[in-house]
């Protein structure tokens, strides 16, 4: 092997505290190094040209560049090396800027350290092998998980782009949280008027296959070729036949069923269509409440259904969908406000969540838009909003800001005044966070035009006196205790990751944070990608977001998928694990630990059990290499021998040290 070493000054960034000439001179004494030089800016055009010329002139077969972090310029130099006619994996970098010159002052020590780093880069390079990417076909269908506004937007954009879309929604209708909202901030336009047409578009778009009341059971395959098992849960209504006429809802004797759509404010029937604008508008039986299931007799709906759509024997069904990419738009759920016992949450009927309040205000809600308090149906006059319920509170393990509560509270206070002109709203808050376009103006309007009274401070407790609720808290600005006599207390509950989000993440093999929100690939530069190729994120599953941000991400994720599918074939990263079949004893410990399901069990031609890596699924973590005791499976480019050579070069086991 003929190695060339290029030591970059990076202007004075490196050369300021590292003697680059000395590093280059020392490199000449490393095995297989036949050329070594220092250069002002290796990454500049002349710098790269210098590398290319040196490769040709000195017949180099591998290149080490000692400069900045490989996370910065490795792709740059790989391309240069490739232009010089070498395989781009015959290249290593020594990070002598971020890890040396910028963090150490002593030039002598820095130089010595830089020499070591070049040495181990060269040792690793000596054991590099040319790697070649594999190409494979893509199935240009996309799966979108979650039919909230982000998922809807992504589905519509993908479908408009000509892709076949499979949209899977957990509940019986798409629409998500937004469908439950009365109005949206800061424009105070009708939520369902904005969302409704989009929902209809989804239903009518021939490119979109919609599976509602369905969940993801299993995800196999890899980018370009995923195989998805979708569980269609039993609705006990044959949707092929159901026309959504609603007759069953009228006749159903079980009228005290929990109304999920209305957040438990009011009740519904055991067989129901969740809301009039539901897409698809189909009935479902809630088996927890249906008398046929709980008592074993009834069947009224079956008798009166004009299309005979009722089927009490219906079972869950698993269907398979093959797609090339996945967009996860599973949204969020609301913090369980009962954890704040001091606010009387769950104890006093007139302490409700902000979402319940949305339903009370909504014309399609249980009170047809008349704000009535749950306890006695009276119209409340004094309404107290408490902010940060399940946000910015370490004591409930929710240290993060949910981002949108300040805004929706401002909106709800404004709407309250619209509904009940003689009402007074009070808002207990920590800080008002209103950084969006026209947001802060909106909050101001609430204060200035609608007379919402903002009190900066936390509420200590809420307790009933008569039919009133006393809200006691601190006004930290005034430095005094305050007590407000309220008719209704609305808790601005924060967002938390959707129920089941971690489980789904594990099915999808993507990472999630401590709170169950999905991890993006890079917080700045790859906000909708995940670390699993072909899986993208949209909306609040990645972290709390308001509607415009969710819609934006839906479109962004769709654009990513469209870009991915703009090629007919994909190239896999060749830095994958590789099985040396001669050494594999077929114990499949690697199969057990692979986080990506990238290793399959095969038989060789003699019938011996062997492992085989599916290159396109392997993400190159190397977990398998450590799991395999006989080192039969090796992560290419990070083989045992490569890492060992670095260790041995740094710790040469000799007696020189006393």
């Amino acid at each position: 092997m003929r190695i060339g070493v290029f030591v970059c000054h990076c202007g004075s960034n490196i050369a300021g505290t590292v003697d680059c000439e000395k590093v280059a001179a020392a490199a000449k004494d490393f095995p297989d190094v036949v050329y070594s030089d220092d250069t002002m800016y290796a990454c500049s055009e002349p710098g790269q040209q210098g590398i290319i010329e040196a490769v040709k002139e000195h017949k180099l077969t591998g290149v080490v560049v000692a400069s900045c972090s490989p996370r910065m310029h490795e792709p740059t130099f790989r391309r240069a090396v490739e232009r010089a006619g070498l395989n781009k994996y015959m290249f290593e970098m020594a990070n002598i800027r971020e890890h040396v010159s910028w963090v150490g002052k002593d030039k002598e020590l820095n130089t010595n350290k830089a020499i070591d780093l070049v040495m181990i880069a060269a040792e690793k390079l000596r054991r590099d092998k040319p790697l070649i990417s594999k190409k494979f076909d893509i199935n240009k269908r996309v799966l979108i998980i979650g039919g909230g506004v982000a998922g809807i937007q992504a589905a519509l954009d993908c479908a408009d782009g000509g892709l076949e879309v499979v949209l899977v929604e957990k509940t019986t209708s798409i629409g998500g949280k937004m469908a439950k909202l009365d109005k949206t901030f800061p424009t105070v336009d009708c939520s369902s008027c904005v969302l409704g047409p989009k929902m209809v578009d989804v239903a009518q778009n021939p490119n979109i296959t919609l599976h509602t009341y369905s969940e993801i059971e299993e995800v196999g395959g890899y980018v370009g070729n995923f195989e998805i098992k979708v569980k269609k849960k039993a609705t006990f209504v044959d949707w092929e036949k159901c026309t959504g006429c609603g007759l069953c809802m009228e006749k159903c004797p079980s009228k005290k069923s929990f109304d999920y759509f209305n957040e438990g404010i009011g009740t519904t029937t055991a067989i129901n269509i969740p809301f009039p604008q539901a897409i698809p508008k189909k009935a479902k039986i809630d088996a927890d409440f249906c008398r046929k299931f709980t008592k074993g007799k009834c069947g009224v709906c079956a008798k009166i259904c004009p299309t005979k759509a009722i089927d009490f024997e219906m079972k869950d069904e698993i269907i398979t969908e093959n797609v090339g990419a996945i967009i996860t738009a599973t949204g969020y759920d609301l913090f369980d406000f009962k954890k704040y016992a001091e606010y009387g949450a769950g104890k006093y009927p007139d302490v409700i969540t902000s979402m319940q309040y949305e339903r009370l205000m909504s014309a399609s809600g249980p009170t047809t838009g008349h704000i009535k308090r749950p306890s006695d149906g009276k119209e409340p006059k004094n309404i107290v909003f408490i902010q940060c319920v399940g946000s910015r509170d370490k004591s409930v393990n929710r240290p993060y800001c949910s981002g949108f509560c300040c805004m929706y509270t401002a909106k709800q206070a404004i709407l309250t005044k619209d509904h009940i002109p003689d009402s007074q709203s009070y808002v207990f808050y920590m800080d008002i966070r209103s950084p969006g376009k026209s947001y802060d103006e909106f909050v101001r309007r609430g204060i200035e035009e609608y007379g919402t009274e903002y009190i900066r401070g936390r509420v200590a407790m809420v307790y009933p006196v008569g039919d009133k609720l006393i809200v006691r808290g601190a006004d930290t600005l005034a430095g005094s205790q305050v007590e407000v006599e309220a008719d209704l207390v609305v808790l601005a509950v924060g967002a938390e990751s959707a129920v089941g989000a971690p489980q789904l993440a594990e099915t999808l093999r993507i990472s999630y944070d401590t709170y169950g929100f999905y991890m993006e690939s890079h917080p700045k530069l790859k906000p909708v990608e995940t670390n699993t190729a072909g899986v993208y994120l949209a909306g609040a599953c990645q972290g709390p977001k308001d509607i415009p941000a969710s819609v934006g991400q839906g479109s962004a994720a769709a654009a990513k998928v469209l870009a991915l599918f703009s090629k007919d074939q994909l190239e896999s990263d060749p830095q994958t694990a590789l099985v040396n079949a001669a050494r594999c004893i077929g114990c499949y410990k690697c199969v057990e630990t692979c986080p990506f399901g990238a290793i399959k069990e095969i038989e060789d031609r003699f019938g011996n059990a062997k492992a085989e890596v599916i290159e396109t699924i392997c993400q190159g973590c190397g977990l398998c290499s450590v799991t395999c005791p006989q080192s039969a499976i090796q992560l290419q480019h990070f083989t045992d021998n490569q890492i060992l050579s670095e260790v041995k070069a740094l710790c040469p086991s000799m007696m020189e040290k006393s």
């Binding site: 000449k28 004494d29 490393f30 095995p31 190094v33 036949v34 050329y35 070594s36 030089d37 210098g50 040196a54 002139e57 000195h58 017949k59 001669a582 041995k648 070069a649 040469p652 086991s653 000799m654």
Partner: protein, 359 residues
């Protein structure tokens, strides 16, 4: 044989210390339950009554021997301007590393010392002379202690040796009451016995004779392994026989590594930076890797193949090439230390007694 001398028990340590002048002295010491050869150190746990766990071959055929060292000479130039001969290939400097150390092994058993005679027939022939082995052999003296209490695993008399066999020894010590009757076998041995610590041992000759006689009795009748030469070849293709014989073998190298006569080795290169060395290390024919070719082909894939080679080599191939001398000295280490108690005597006997039922 030269005159008999007497070494009192109390004089053993001074005698060993006297040997140390100019030579490294290896003595059997007890570590754990194992008795191994270590350079003599004051107050070490000398163990002269038990047979050392490992044979003394390490002295003449070390576990690791550096055959040569090499070093890549630095590349002359390179200052990036392309001048001069930057394409020149790095030159290599090769240095032969022959052993020079002078050694005395004190306390080996006759069977252990005998082992090197098996080496010599292979390592020093007309065609080839192994300078490392020869160098060490010529620089190493063996002071052996005759065997007074053979164990059930011993069978030296069946393979041409005996409890007081002198082959390979320079001095033989016969344990008697209160000390050892010492006799020089070689001139070098005689020089070692010049020490004032020894007294005349003529009067103890009878006692020494009796000790050996007793030992011979304990060993019982010698087995005749002479027909094994043909018999093992005949059985070469009898897979069932070897499959049976090797069933309990676990393919480790204990038998070969402890053996005084097993002389096979491996050669590998090790490097650190630009320098390196070519070393030879003990190897074992019981390992699958021993004959594994780079292509993946292996003529001895099963432990049956490998055991067959070990037994065959010692009792057939070697004797056929070297005047019927069996390449085994009957020390029994391979039996006693075998984790599965594979008994080479039984295998050879089974082969000799084998009758093909199909014939």
């Amino acid at each position: 044989m030269s005159e008999k001398k007497f070494l009192k028990n109390e004089s053993v340590i001074p005698f060993i210390e006297g040997l140390a002048g100019g030579r490294k002295v290896l003595v059997p010491v007890c570590e754990g339950d194992a008795v191994i050869y270590r350079p003599y150190r004051k107050d070490c746990r000398l163990e002269l009554t038990r047979m050392p766990t490992i044979s003394p071959k390490d002295a003449t055929f070390p576990r690791t021997e550096t055959l040569m060292t090499f070093k890549q000479a630095p590349v002359a130039k390179t200052e990036g301007d392309g001048e001069g001969d930057s394409d020149a290939q790095p030159k290599l400097e090769l240095t032969e590393t022959l052993p020079e150390e002078k050694v005395v092994v004190f306390g080996s058993r006759p069977c252990g010392a005998r082992g090197k005679s098996i080496f010599t027939r292979v390592y020093e022939t007309e065609d080839v002379k192994d300078p490392y082995f020869i160098g060490r052999r010529d620089n190493t003296l063996f002071v052996s202690i005759a065997c007074a209490a053979p164990e059930t695993t011993c069978f030296c008399t069946s393979v041409g040796g005996g409890p007081a066999d002198t082959t390979g020894s320079d001095v033989i010590l016969i344990p008697v009451d209160g000390g050892y009757v010492a006799e020089a076998v070689t001139e070098h041995g005689a020089e070692l016995l010049q020490s004032d610590l020894l007294t005349s041992g003529a009067d103890k000759a009878g006692e020494a004779e009796a000790v050996i006689q007793k030992s011979m009795e304990l060993l019982g009748d010698a087995d005749d392994f002479s027909i094994a030469r043909e018999k093992l070849i005949e059985l070469f293709d009898n897979d069932e026989f070897w499959f049976d014989m090797s069933a309990k073998c676990i393919s480790c190298g204990t038998c070969t590594y402890l053996c005084p006569t097993c002389y096979c080795f491996n050669i590998t290169d090790e490097t650190a930076g630009k320098s390196g060395k070519r070393i030879r290390t003990w190897d074992t024919c019981m390992s699958n890797m021993f004959t594994m070719e780079a292509s993946g082909h292996n003529p001895r894939t099963s432990k049956a193949n490998r055991l067959k080679n070990r037994v065959g080599h010692k009792f057939s191939y070697y004797p056929s090439l070297h005047d019927k001398v069996i390449a085994c000295c009957g020390c029994g280490r391979c039996i006693k230390s075998c984790p599965a108690a594979v008994d080479i005597r039984e295998i050879v006997k089974s082969a000799q007694e084998y009758e093909d039922v199909n014939e």
